[in-house]
C-alpha cells in the first residue's frame, strides 16, 4: 500500500505507523461529564465498512501525522491531509 504523504509524496506504507480513527476528537476535560465523554473518545469507534479517515504517522519519513481517506472494504485511498491542518 502506498500513502500520499502531503509532505513527502507517495511513500510505501511500511514507513508509517497506524493509530486509528481520525474523526474522534478529544473532549473538554473540564466538562462535568468528562468521565463519560473521555470513555467514549478513548474506546468507542464507528468502525465503518466503507469510507474511513485514518491517522498515520510518517515515522520513517517527515514525522508528520497524516489523515488519510481510505475505504476499509478495498483499501482504495482518496486523499491525505496533514493532521495539524485538519480543521477540528
Amino acid at each position: 500500500m502506498r500513502i500520499p504523504c502531503p509532505y513527502c509524496g507517495l511513500r510505501d506504507s511500511h514507513e508509517f505507523t497506524y493509530l486509528g480513527d481520525a474523526t474522534v476528537k478529544r473532549p473538554d476535560p473540564a466538562a462535568p461529564n468528562a468521565l463519560d465523554t473521555f470513555s467514549d473518545y478513548v474506546y468507542l469507534r464507528d468502525n465503518p465498512a466503507g469510507a474511513h479517515r485514518d491517522l498515520w504517522y510518517h515515522a520513517s519519513g517527515c514525522r508528520s501525522w497524516v489523515v488519510l481517506e481510505r475505504d476499509t472494504r478495498n483499501h482504495a485511498i482518496g486523499g491525505a491531509t496533514l493532521a495539524r491542518e485538519v480543521t477540528p
Binding site: 500500500m1 502506498r2 506504507s13 505507523t17 493509530l19 478529544r26 476535560p29 473540564a30 468528562a34 468521565l35 473521555f38 470513555s39 473518545y41 478513548v42 491517522l55 504517522y57 515515522a59 514525522r63 508528520s64 501525522w65 478495498n74 483499501h75 482504495a76 485511498i77 496533514l82 493532521a83 495539524r84
Partner: protein
C-alpha cells in the same frame, strides 16, 4: 531413449549429466528436469499424497500436480519441487518423495486397497475412542504417512535478496500476448517491465507451430525480444514469477537468480524477491489444459495435450513410443497433431464430440491417425500406462499406448485476477471461468482473458499493452501481428460416466469423483465446504487442475449451473514461494538491526558481556579474571559503585529536544507534574500517562533555557514517547508553538555514580564549569565543555541512588569521554558496570523500571500518585479517575525481603496470605523484580500487592509453583537503600 532424432529448442551440443533416485542420466541444455526424465524413458516420477498411487508427469508448467521431487540434497534440499519447472543443470540431483522403501515399490500404496474406508472425511468419523489415543496412536501414524517431501537438513547455505522496481506498465507473462503488450507499451516510451516464470520468453510460441506475420513463431519471439532488449525503458525479467497483487499497484515477484546452477555464483543470491510498483499491469499468463475425470486418469503416461506438444516441439522428446489423444476440444487436436508432426506416433484421437472441424480431421488423416468420434476412455492399465480402453458406439476396445494425452478444455490462468477477492465468472460458450473484476490497474490479455486463439492473443495483447501505456500518460498504439484463426470448438465435458477404477478430480490430494459425491450426500455442498471436506483444490497447485471438474460434478449433483455453483478463490502466491526469499537477508544476526552504544568498542575491549535491549546491545556486566559467575561480578560492581564510583553508558535512554514558547505549557499537559515552573538549569523527574490513565513512561526533563527543554525517556519507550509527543502537538494541540527533535543518536550519555563521582567529574570538565555542591546541586544542570573543548551537558542525577552525574557529549566523542572518565577515576578504582548492576541498584533504591511500568499500573499503583498536580489538567487525568483506579484493593508497589535471608526469591512469584489455598481468589499480586542486594546482603524484590503501602511488616507467601518454590516474605518499604535520598544531595 525417447529423444526425437531432431528438433526442439534444446542445445544438443551441450550435454548435461544428472541423477534421479541415484541413477545417472543425460540431458541437454534447454531441458527441464521433466523433459530430460521423459527423454530418458523415466515415466514414474512420484507418489500421490493419500493412496501413494504411482504418478508421472502431467504438465509442462508450474501447475504440475504430480511430478514433485526433492531437488538437491542436505541443507539445500528443496522438497515438492515441480520437475516441470526445474531448468536442467550439470550435476543436478533429484529424488522421488513420499514413498518407502522405493518409488517403484511403495509399501503405503496398500492405502489404495483400503480406499473404501479412506474416503472423504473418514477421519472425522472415527479415531475418537479412547480420547487419549489420538495423540498417542492414531495421529502419529497419520502424520508419518502424510506430508510430501522432506525439508532441508541444516541452515540454508544460500543467501536471498530483496529489490524494488518501479514502472509504468508491468507485463506479466512473456508469451504471445505479453510480447505484443510489452512492445506496444514500450514503443511509447513508457517504462515497461516484462516478467515470465520461464527461462525463455515466448510461452506457447515455443511449442506451437503456427506462423506469425508469415514467419515461424520463434522468429517473431526473437525479433520482439531483440527490440525490447534494445530499449532503455524496458526491463526483461525472465525466471521471474509475479506471485501476488497488493494494494496501490504493488506486485510481489520472485526471481530465480541461481536455481539453474548447481550453486549460486560468488556473491549472488539464490533468489531475489522483487517488490514492483506499477501504474498499470497487463496480465498475460496464458491458459492450460484441464484433465477429464475417468477411471485411471492418473496413471503415469497420462498427460495434458498441451504438455505432449511442448515436450515434442520445444524439447524434442516423445514421452512414449505411441500416443492417444482423449479430448473434447479443437485446441487439444491442434496440440496433439503438432506433436505428431514433430515426430510423436499419434495412433488414435478419441473425442467425445460427434462432429469436429474438417480441417482437423483432415490433418489427422494425413498423419495416419485414427479418429474415434463420440468416444470415451473408460479405463487405463499398467503401472505406467500400457493401454487404454475406449468405449464408442456401445462397444469397448483396448488400445495399446504409452501416452494418453487428455484435455477437458482450456482453463485461463487467472490466479492473479482474484487476489483482491473478485470471483471469476463462468462462460458457457468457452466452458471456462473468466476473470471478473481484476485488481485496479490490471487488464487481462490473451488466453488468460479467454482469448484462446493465437490471433486473438496477439491482438488483445497489443491493444491492452497500448491502453495501459496510454493510461499511464503515454501516447501508445497497438503493434500489429497477424496469425491465422484456428478451429476453436469445444463441448463441455467433465467426467466419463460408469468409468472403471478410481477417477481422480484432484491428482495430488487423491480426491476422486466418489469423494465429491459423498460430500454432496453429507451436505458439504458449497464449493468452499466441498474443498474443505474433501481437500479438493488444496494441493500445491491450489486447484488449478482440479477445481473445474470438481465443481462441475458438484453442479451436476445439486442441479445448479456451474456459474451458480461458483468457484473457490485463488489466494497469493500464484506459485509457492520459498520462505527464505520472502525473508531476504533478515536472518541470523541480521534479523533486526543491531544498535551498538557509543562505548561499545571500549566495552568489548574490557571483556564486557552484552545483552539485547530491544535493538540495542548494552554491556550487561564486566567480568574480571577469577570471578566464578555473573553474580560475583555484579556484586563487585555494585559494591564498588556505592563505595567509590561506578560508570555506565546510558546513551540508550531516549532523548528528545523541545523548543518553543509553549514548551513548558506543553510539558504540563503531557506530564502529571508541573514543568512550566521548573527553573532554568534544573532537572525534574516526570511521569506521563496514556489517555486511559495508565503510566506510559517516566524520566527526567531539564530546562536549558526559558524556551528549551530536553527530555529523557526509558530505553524501551524512546520511539513510542516521541511519536506520542508528536501526536499531542500535531493532532491534539496544533495551537501550541513547540518544535521537537529526537536526539537519542546525537548525544552519548555516560553516568557516573558514587561518593567519588564529583572528584572524577572535576577532572574532565573545562572551566568555567563548577561541579561543587553549591554550583551544581542535586537535580542541577550545567552546560559547557569537557576534555578541552567538547560540548557537554551535565545533569546531576542518578538512577543508582548515589551522588551522580550524567554527562552528555556529542555521540562521536562518547568513547573518548568514557576513556577520559576511566583515566580520571583510576585513583578511585572507578568500576564500569552494566545493566545487571544497574538493575540491582535501582531495586535497592526502589526505583520503578520496565517491569513495573508494564502497561497495567497507574501512577498511584507505583506510589507516584502524589506527584500528580491538582492545579492543571494533564493527559490521562480524567480516565485515571474511573472507579477501578480508585479501588482500595488495587495492587500497589512495595518492597519484599525473604524471612529466611538465605532464600532466593524470584520475579514472577505470586503473593498469597500464609496458609491460603493457591487459587485465584487468594491471589494478591506478584513480584515484579528480584535481585541479590549486596547492600542488604540478601535477595530482595519489588512487587505489586493489594494495599501494598499499608502492609509493611506483614508476611505473605511468594508462591512460585512453576519453579517449585514457596517462600515466606516480608512486605517492606521499596526503598531499601537511603530512603530519604541523603546520598543524592551530598
Amino acid at each position: 531413449m525417447s529423444r526425437l532424432p531432431s528438433g526442439g529448442r534444446i542445445d544438443r551440443s551441450q550435454p548435461l549429466s544428472f541423477s534421479f533416485d541415484g541413477k545417472a542420466y543425460k540431458g541437454f541444455a534447454g531441458d527441464t528436469l521433466a523433459s530430460a526424465l521423459l527423454a530418458n524413458g523415466v515415466r514414474l516420477v512420484g507418489r500421490s499424497f493419500k493412496y501413494h498411487r504411482a504418478r508421472g508427469i502431467f504438465s509442462a508448467g508450474s501447475e504440475e500436480p504430480n511430478a514433485l521431487v526433492e531437488l538437491r540434497t542436505g541443507a539445500r534440499r528443496e522438497p515438492n519441487t515441480r520437475a516441470t519447472t526445474v531448468e536442467l543443470f550439470d550435476g543436478l540431483s533429484a529424488q522421488s518423495q513420499n514413498r518407502w522403501p522405493s518409488l517403484d515399490f511403495d509399501v503405503m500404496s496398500v492405502n489404495g486397497l483400503l480406499s473404501p474406508f479412506l474416503g472423504a472425511g473418514f477421519y472425522y468419523k472415527t479415531f475418537m475412542w479412547p480420547a487419549a489415543f489420538w495423540e498417542k496412536l492414531y495421529e502419529p501414524i497419520i502424520r508419518r504417512a502424510a506430508g510430501l517431501g522432506r525439508a532441508a537438513e541444516g541452515t540454508d547455505p544460500d543467501s536471498y535478496e530483496k529489490a524494488y522496481a518501479f514502472c509504468d506498465v508491468l507485463v506479466i507473462g512473456g508469451g504471445a500476448a505479453g510480447l505484443t503488450a510489452a512492445l506496444s507499451a514500450a514503443r511509447s516510451g513508457a517504462r515497461v517491465i516484462i516478467a515470465d516464470e520461464d527461462f525463455a520468453l515466448g510461452g506457447r510460441l515455443l511449442s506451437e507451430q503456427h506462423p506469425i506475420d508469415g514467419a515461424p513463431a520463434t522468429s517473431f519471439v526473437a525479433k520482439v525480444e531483440a527490440e525490447l532488449a534494445s530499449l532503455p525503458n524496458v526491463r526483461i525479467m525472465s525466471r521471474t514469477t509475479v506471485f501476488g497483487v497488493y494494494d496501490s499497484g504493488d506486485y510481489g515477484a520472485l526471481e530465480k537468480v541461481s536455481d539453474h546452477l548447481a550453486v549460486p555464483a560468488p556473491f549472488q543470491p539464490r533468489q531475489r524477491m522483487w517488490k514492483i510498483n506499477a501504474k498499470q499491469a497487463v496480465l498475460a499468463s496464458g491458459a492450460f489444459d484441464r484433465p477429464i475425470v475417468f477411471g485411471g486418469n492418473d496413471r503415469p503416461g497420462v498427460m495434458s495435450a498441451q504438455a505432449l506438444r511442448t515436450y515434442a516441439v520445444r524439447y524434442g522428446v516423445a514421452p512414449g513410443n505411441s500416443a492417444v489423444l482423449f479430448a473434447n476440444n479443437d485446441y487439444a487436436w491442434s496440440a496433439a497433431l503438432d506433436a505428431a508432426e514433430a515426430g510423436v506416433r499419434l495412433t488414435t484421437i478419441v473425442d467425445v464430440r460427434t462432429e469436429v472441424a474438417p480441417a482437423l480431421t483432415a490433418r489427422a488423416k494425413a498423419l495416419g491417425t485414427r479418429v474415434i468420434l463420440g468416444g470415451e476412455v473408460v479405463a487405463t492399465s499398467g503401472k505406467v500406462l500400457t493401454s487404454v480402453i475406449v468405449r464408442s458406439g456401445g462397444r469397448e476396445e483396448t488400445i495399446s499406448t504409452e501416452v494418453l494425452a487428455i484435455s477437458g478444455g482450456t482453463t485461463p490462468n487467472l490466479h492473479l485476477t482474484s487476489h483482491f477477492g473478485s470471483k471469476p465468472l463462468y462462460n458457457k460458450e468457452l466452458a471456462a471461468f473468466l476473470p471478473n473484476t481484476p485488481p485496479p490497474g490490471m487488464a487481462v490479455a490473451g488466453a488468460a482473458g479467454g482469448h484462446f486463439s493465437l490471433a486473438a492473443t496477439l491482438r488483445t495483447g497489443a491493444e491492452l499493452g497500448a491502453a495501459a501505456a496510454t493510461a499511464a500518460g503515454f501516447n501508445a498504439t497497438p503493434v500489429a501481428a497477424q496469425a491465422e484463426e484456428t478451429p476453436s470448438g469445444i463441448s463441455a465435458f467433465w467426467q466419463v460416466k460408469g468409468a472403471r477404477g478410481k477417477a481422480f478430480v484432484d491428482f495430488q490430494n487423491d480426491v476422486t469423483n466418489k469423494d465429491v459425491t459423498v460430500a454432496h450426500r453429507e451436505g458439504y455442498r458449497s464449493v468452499e465446504l466441498l474443498k474443505r471436506y474433501t481437500t479438493l483444490g488444496m494441493a500445491t497447485d491450489q486447484g488449478k487442475n482440479s477445481n473445474m471438474a470438481g465443481l462441475a460434478i458438484m453442479a451436476e449433483l445439486t442441479g445448479q449451473g456451474i456459474g451458480e455453483t461458483g468457484t473457490t478463490l485463488f489466494r497469493p502466491p500464484y506459485t509457492p514461494v520459498a520462505l527464505g526469499a520472502i525473508a531476504g537477508h533478515h536472518r541470523g544476526k541480521d534479523f533486526r538491526p543491531t544498535r551498538p552504544t557509543p562505548s561499545h568498542a571500549w566495552a568489548k575491549e574490557r571483556g564486557a558481556m552484552f545483552v539485547e535491549a530491544g535493538q540495542w546491545l548494552r554491556a550487561q556486566y564486566f567480568p574480571k579474571p577469577g570471578e566464578k559467575d555473573w553474580l560475583e561480578t555484579v556484586i563487585r560492581e555494585v559494591k564498588a559503585t556505592r563505595a567509590s564510583v561506578g560508570m555506565i553508558d546510558v546513551s540508550t535512554f531516549g532523548k528528545i529536544d523541545l523548543k518553543g514558547p509553549d514548551a513548558g505549557a506543553f510539558l504540563d499537559r503531557v506530564y502529571i507534574n508541573m514543568f512550566s515552573t521548573l527553573a532554568v538549569g534544573k532537572a525534574r523527574y516526570g511521569v506521563m500517562l496514556r489517555e486511559d490513565g495508565i503510566v506510559m513512561d517516566d524520566g527526567t526533563t531539564s530546562r536549558l533555557s526559558p524556551e528549551h527543554y530536553v527530555m529523557t525517556t526509558t530505553t524501551a519507550n524512546a520511539a513510542k514517547v516521541y511519536q506520542h509527543l508528536e501526536f499531542c502537538l500535531q493532532v491534539l494541540w496544533p495551537e501550541l508553538d513547540v518544535q521537537l527533535a529526537s536526539i537519542t543518536e546525537q548525544w552519548a550519555q555516560i553516568s557516573i555514580s558514587g561518593p567519588k563521582s564529583r572528584e572524577v567529574l572535576a577532572k574532565v570538565v573545562d572551566a568555567p564549569i563548577d561541579v561543587s555542591n553549591e554550583a551544581l546541586p542535586y537535580m542541577g544542570v550545567a552546560q559547557g565543555t569537557v576534555m578541552g573543548g567538547v560540548k557537554t551537558r551535565i545533569f546531576r542525577l542518578s538512577f543508582a541512588g548515589e551522588l551522580g552525574y550524567e554527562i552528555a557529549v556529542p555521540a562521536r566523542h562518547g568513547e573518548k569521554l568514557v576513556r577520559a572518565l576511566m583515566a580520571a577515576g583510576e585513583p578511585f578504582n572507578i568500576t564500569p558496570y552494566g545493566t545487571e548492576a544497574l538493575a540491582v541498584m535501582r531495586v535497592e533504591k526502589g526505583h520503578v523500571s520496565g517491569s513495573e511500568l508494564n502497561g497495567h499500573t497507574s501512577a498511584r499503583d507505583l506510589g507516584l500518585g502524589k506527584m500528580a498536580s491538582t492545579k492543571k489538567d494533564f493527559l490521562g487525568r480524567v480516565l485515571s479517575g474511573r472507579p477501578a483506579f480508585l479501588e482500595e484493593d488495587r495492587p500497589i508497589l512495595a518492597g519484599f525481603r525473604p524471612v529466611d535471608k538465605t532464600k532466593r526469591i524470584r520475579a514472577g512469584a505470586h503473593f498469597m496470605a500464609i496458609g491460603a489455598e493457591p487459587v485465584l481468589e487468594n491471589d494478591e499480586g506478584y513480584m515484579t523484580a528480584a535481585i541479590f542486594s549486596p547492600t542488604v546482603d540478601s535477595w530482595i524484590g519489588l512487587g505489586l500487592i493489594k494495599r501494598g503501602t499499608e502492609r509493611w511488616g506483614e508476611k505473605v507467601r511468594a508462591y512460585d509453583p512453576v519453579r517449585g518454590e514457596d517462600i515466606e516474605v516480608e512486605i517492606c518499604d521499596p526503598a531499601f537503600v537511603d530512603p530519604k535520598g541523603e546520598r543524592l544531595r551530598v
